[in-house]
Amino acid sequence: MNKFSRIALGAVSMLTAAALLSACTQGGGASSSSSPAAQVAGGSLTVVVTGGNGTMTTLDPIAPANPNSDMKNAIFGELFHLGANAEIQPSLATGYTVSPDGLTVTYKLRTGVTFSDGTPFNAAAVKAAYDRALNPANGCPCLSTFATIASTAAPDDSTVVVTLKKPSPAFMVSISGTAMNWIPSPTAEAAMSPADFGAKPVGAGPFTVTSFDSNQKLVLAKNPKYYDPAYLDTLTFQSIGTDQSALASIQSGQAQVVEGITTFPLFTQAKAQFDVVPTASTSVWLNQFNTISGPMSNPLARQALRYATDAQGINNAIFEGQNTIANMGVAQGLPFYQATVPGFLGYDLAKATALVTQIGGLSIEIMETTSTVGQKVAEALAAQWTKAGVKVTLVAPSLADKQAKIKAGSWDVSTAFMGSIDPAGSLGYNSFFGSGQPNSGTKDATLDTLIQSAASELDQTKRADLYKQVAQKINDNSDAGFLFSNQTFNIVSRTGVVNASQPVRWMDWAKVSVPASK
């Protein structure tokens, strides 16, 4: 045994030595209080991304993959920046005008800007980027949103004219987070292979790509030529498979920010040591009902399930109470949001039980989303509805299966989340309640007309009124039961980062700095 204990001792001392070394290399974080510190240039920041943002397959703005909006914002900059309350702010574009008939949108571009490869950022580049995105052969997911674009033109270097097929009041807010907002260098795009361009694209944003391993790691360096230079010298995105290890990485000081954690239980731990910063919500959870066929075509059944649903209870148990209760399909803080809808059916178990008895029992199947959180919500719903006497089974079909089931009408209830920045956007009302849409369980001509006219109404007041009617109609008909907002949170180190708690939709990394090292 002596021999072995000596070996063990050796191993331990080697480990200790390694640890000391690691401590030396890591010890950079200065200890400052959480009071707002003056921002200084320099330093580096590591952001750990999990979940959907963690699958960063390519950086090509038009690529049909997860948008990774804040990464692409950092590389390409933005034409227009979307504020916390969905207000459109100038960035690489200085402003825009919409013609009175709503068919022509004219951008004015910032002058004197160049791409990081030195080629000029001008109207021709924007037109090239738009044409590329709108070419169906390129398969840009932005296509459906921007199908209204008839043509683009670049009359001079700083003017872009976009002609629409029909008036689209949602057009400008919908640009954000899509290829319409990210302009790559057309010269670089033409010169590089699709794979190379996806790995090391050239943009005019605050950062340039140093290295990119798809789905693993993205290292960015400051672009000194950017009109409003960033504070950080280097910005690293590290993708990680599990939320637990993402949290561990910030706990061990390897990372300063964690993005995209959806495992809410971890927030309890995180809150003790770090700032948990909500990013503005763009969607809401809902129970969508198949109102066309099956047991849920009975309005009483739909009401029963809505009465049986204790949204706040689920919010408390699963989401640590972080989400806001929703009464309609627009997330809090977005245009046309209503905190309450008159006549909204809240939790009332007695009424639910009575209704179930009245209709002679109810047996339904819930389609859940395949995410961990989605499954938990569905589990909680199933248990609540069981209490009201409903017989519930759970299924977790893949996305394609789910759409096939909806198309075939062989479903009862779907637990999902809906919403886009503008309710006329791609995951808005039309997609979930329009007749014949891929996610819709409703066939209601009146509702269709309301949704359509709301989407094309240019007058904001009238539009607001129309969306109010839409929300009311969905509530009165119990086409769906809304639960609460769907939000993501960033976990931010209290000592290592300044201004990472901006109330924004996507983190603007150019505005973030780390405290000066001593």
Partner: protein, 291 residues
């Protein structure tokens, strides 16, 4: 060689009452873990009926994450306010069902394939052996993930997927054992005695291969329960809300720092069960190796 059989000429001798005591003393390594294991299995399969535990799916969102020894929840509750004890027992049933069923599948198909391969030899053997090679070399995770996402997660599909991947090990074992038996003269004697190949395989080879396969399966059961947990972690295990030890562990790891009980309780159950299966398996293997 001749001395030993003479001793067993009188089989009634071991039936005397005192002999049972001797048997117990000599076989402590077998019966103690065996009885404990039986208790675990009984607890999982009959416990819920006898103990009147609450419904494992019933949630009480008012009382989530209760600690040990809470009133009416002896093992506390989970993140959705479900009774951990009840879920542990029902979950054990699911996990043990999966482990047994997957093993039976693997043992049966692997055994049949291995015996045919080892017995027939020649081209059949070469083809089957290469087929097994493919299965062994194939990253099983790929197929598990693909199959699970194709079939959709369900207990049956987990059984099918794990059972399918248990086939190569059983097939290799059975093949090796068959090739050894095929060389033994009683097989030649049966063949020359006019016995059909199918009869030789089912009545001579199979009963003699079975003990080895069974010993392996006892040891393999623990591994299957752990694989089930890993599948849950990857999101293709037993779908919620059905409890299983795997899903409980996979869910519990989220609460490692906030409510470690949710991880510790099912992990302890898993460790104890695997330990018992291993101990019984070892004892059986020792006996089998001696005879």
């Amino acid at each position: 060689m001749t001395a030993v059989p003479e001793l067993v000429l009188a089989p009634t001798a071991t039936r005397r009452p005192s002999a049972f005591g001797t048997w117990l003393r000599l076989n402590r390594d077998l019966w103690i873990p065996g009885v404990l294991l039986a208790l675990v299995i009984l607890a999982c399969f009959l416990g819920p009926l006898v103990l009147h535990v609450t419904d494992p799916l019933a949630q009480d969102l008012e009382s989530v994450n209760l600690p040990l020894f809470s009133p009416s929840y002896p093992l506390g509750t989970d993140d959705l306010g479900r009774d951990t004890l009840s879920r542990l027992l029902y979950g054990g049933r699911t996990s043990i069902e999966i482990a047994l069923a997957a093993n039976v599948l693997g043992l049966f198909f692997g055994g049949v394939i291995g015996i045919i391969s080892g017995y027939r030899g020649g081209l059949t053997d070469t083809l089957i052996a290469r087929g097994i090679d493919v299965l062994v070399a194939f990253p099983s995770l790929v197929l598990l993930l693909v199959v699970a996402s194709y079939l959709g997660p369900s207990e049956l599909n987990v059984i099918l997927a794990i059972g399918f991947f248990s086939i190569p090990a059983y097939a290799r074992l059975a093949r090796a054992a068959t090739m050894r038996l095929r060389g033994l003269t009683y097989v030649t004697a049966a063949q020359l005695g006019g016995q059909k190949d199918t009869v030789v395989m089912t009545r001579h080879i199979f009963p003699n291969v079975l003990p080895q396969l069974l010993t392996y399966s006892i040891l393999h059961i623990g591994i299957v329960i752990v694989i089930e947990a890993s599948l849950s972690f990857l999101g293709v295990g037993v779908p919620p809300p059905t409890p299983s030890w795997g899903t409980m562990i996979s869910n519990g790891q989220l609460y490692l720092t906030t409510n470690p009980l949710l991880l510790l309780v099912p992990s302890a159950a898993l460790v104890i069960t695997v330990l018992l299966f291993n101990t019984v398996g070892d004892a059986v293997r020792e006996r089998w190796a001696k005879s």
